[in-house]
Symmetry: C2
Subunit: 369 residues, 2 copies
């Protein structure tokens, strides 16, 4: 059961019911244009990551700013995007369950669909799903370029898997998936550069061996908001999979030399308790509203106020050289991590100049299968 | 938009699509009966906390095992329960927004409803909502018995607020809310006993002063799964607000002398990547499926396997003196914290003896306003 929207178009921001997921439209539009400007002079294209926004509406705005398609992590996200009009979708992740693969193959009727693989033993299920749907699937080989999560080792093992895909009747070799997630959040630019240098070498070597094997590699996908200028500069990556750039978050703000995007995503929260003389106030947004996997949220534009602790439904607010807000006052919080925060809400409340301009569903909220 | 159910009744557990939220019905029923048996010889009644389960179905099972009503933290949760047939609901939390209070007062037509207050300046909005709906609201005074979150100081400030409520035209003084949340998770029984001894003294003193003031106190509410025998033993608390006892989680299991309930809640997850020779496997449940605010999940009944790290959609699985599971294998995870985990899913998959027996909606999933 979806929750009803917490606002109506035209309403002042301060009347929005809390907790609510706000988008600052001016900042969002800045970010869309800034990414377009950053990639325009390069050969790299944007395949934006919908694991961040979970919304065909935002996918459409990204397409209007040059994105050639979307990435997702889950088949259920691919379904929501395809049903919402997105026609080029990469599942930048492995899918092994036959029921999931049948759903993915069914999407080929309405969208161009690709998926990743990192294990030869996964190929029969991919083939069976494509054959069962009377279609073919584009399969990218995920290469572990240092993140130590999924992926084939670079070089011969990845090339061997690509060859098996290319030789299959119902699969096509779509390219390489070469993503280093944790590099996005390494704090110092030198660390990020060193990590990416190693990932680049792995990718270059694998590409060279694919060429030697006579295998065409249409896509090299990867990169995120924290590192994409590095991948772009190599000339190897053809598709940039940044997601967070549309919203940003407190964790990206902690990077030295953070990416050139503005904070556009907030959780609006209300002071629901302000015990006299206690030196604290309590907000109605705890970690059910603002997940804390990447740290606590920040308080926006209120110097001296600190979100100091989260329980399920409460946030503890402390003041240092500042007055505590009064009971009923509303504050914007900057989420520690934009992706899981978006996934907590059914609605985006899009605001501009202090007024609600639009309501957009977080259509793929909870789409985990 | 709600997600479709990941299973059908009669299906073997191993065919359930992942990640999925499982209830082991035998364990759930054990827990329901164990709580009923624990409270039966005492004067305390169970007002189970629906912040844990978010389900009118489970509320009904609790009522069949003696619960006299439900607690919630949010008006939106109260709505889902009332619409689902629960007729006695306490919002064990402060509500200050007029729109929320109007919704709460509207529920008085179909349920007995109460709410907490901890600030005299909050009373006019409560009165206005009750008057506007042509009804009255029962208001409990929340007392800060040491948790340092919401609540009036014990003694005179709490009594003064109770007197103002009792003197109001549209409000009734419903009793005291005296809950110490963090005590539930203190590891050692002696720590929990010491914390509760102080909370008990605060509550006893406040009750005595209410009596001196001539104010009847129909309810003393509080206690949770980790401490309820202590509150019950005092004879002061009339309503026990335990929630987690129906499910349990990895964090409660870390208490010394953990409560006498069985683990009944799991997240079913599948191995989606098992890079050869890497010494790891990757599960399809990361912190979007199993929140990590109270620690990482445990792997159920698979000694030697450890869930060692969560990213958004991936869980890292390591093996110590055990074989790693194969690609496609499904494992049950014990969530670190049951409450936020339940809130990630649209459906409970209720299983018994390896088969799906029922699907129940997590009806108040995302009910945060």
């Amino acid at each position: 059961m979806a929750q009803p929207p917490p606002a109506e178009p035209g309403m002042p921001e301060d009347e929005v019911d809390t907790p609510a997921l706000l988008i600052d439209l001016d900042a969002l539009e800045h970010n869309l244009a800034a990414m377009q400007a950053a990639l325009a002079p390069t050969g790299a294209r944007l395949r934006a990551h919908a694991k961040t926004h979970k919304s065909p509406v935002i996918a459409r705005l990204q397409a209007a700013h040059g994105a050639i398609g979307q990435c997702v992590q889950k088949v259920a996200e691919a379904e929501i995007l395809a049903w919402g009009g997105v026609d080029d979708i990469l599942v930048s992740n492995e899918v092994v369950a036959p029921r999931k693969l049948a759903r993915l193959a069914a999407l080929c009727r309405i969208a161009r669909v690709a998926v990743c693989a990192d294990d030869p033993s996964a190929l029969p299920a991919l083939e069976a799903a494509a054959e069962g749907a009377g279609t073919w699937l584009s399969v990218l080989v995920e290469v572990d370029v240092g993140a130590g999560r999924c992926g084939m080792p670079p070089g011969p093992p990845a090339v061997e898997l690509a060859a098996r895909i290319a030789a299959s009747r119902h699969l096509r070799f779509g390219g390489l998936q070469a993503y280093h997630g944790s590099a996005q959040h390494q704090r110092r630019p030198e660390e990020r550069a060193a990590t990416l240098a190693a990932a680049t070498e792995d990718t270059r070597r694998t590409l060279e061996q694919l060429r030697q094997r006579g295998l065409d590699c249409p896509i090299v996908g990867g990169a995120g908001t924290g590192t994409f200028p590095l991948e772009v500069a190599t000339g190897l990556w053809t598709e940039i999979q940044a997601g967070s750039y549309v919203f940003m978050d407190a964790d990206y703000a902690r990077n030295e030399s953070p990416p050139p995007f503005r904070q556009s995503l907030f959780v609006l929260s209300q002071v629901m308790s302000a015990p006299r003389g206690s030196g604290r106030a309590v907000l109605d947004a705890g970690h059910k509203a603002v997940p804390t996997d990447s740290g606590l949220p920040l308080v926006w534009n209120r110097p001296g106020l600190r979100y100091a602790g989260a329980s399920d439904e409460h946030g503890l607010l402390l003041a240092e050289d500042a007055a505590l807000p009064a009971l009923g006052e509303k504050l914007r919080l900057v989420p520690g991590h934009c992706d899981p925060t978006v996934d907590r809400f059914d609605w985006y409340v899009a605001v501009r100049g202090g007024r609600v301009e639009a309501l957009w569903p977080v259509a793929a909220r909870g789409a985990m299968t």
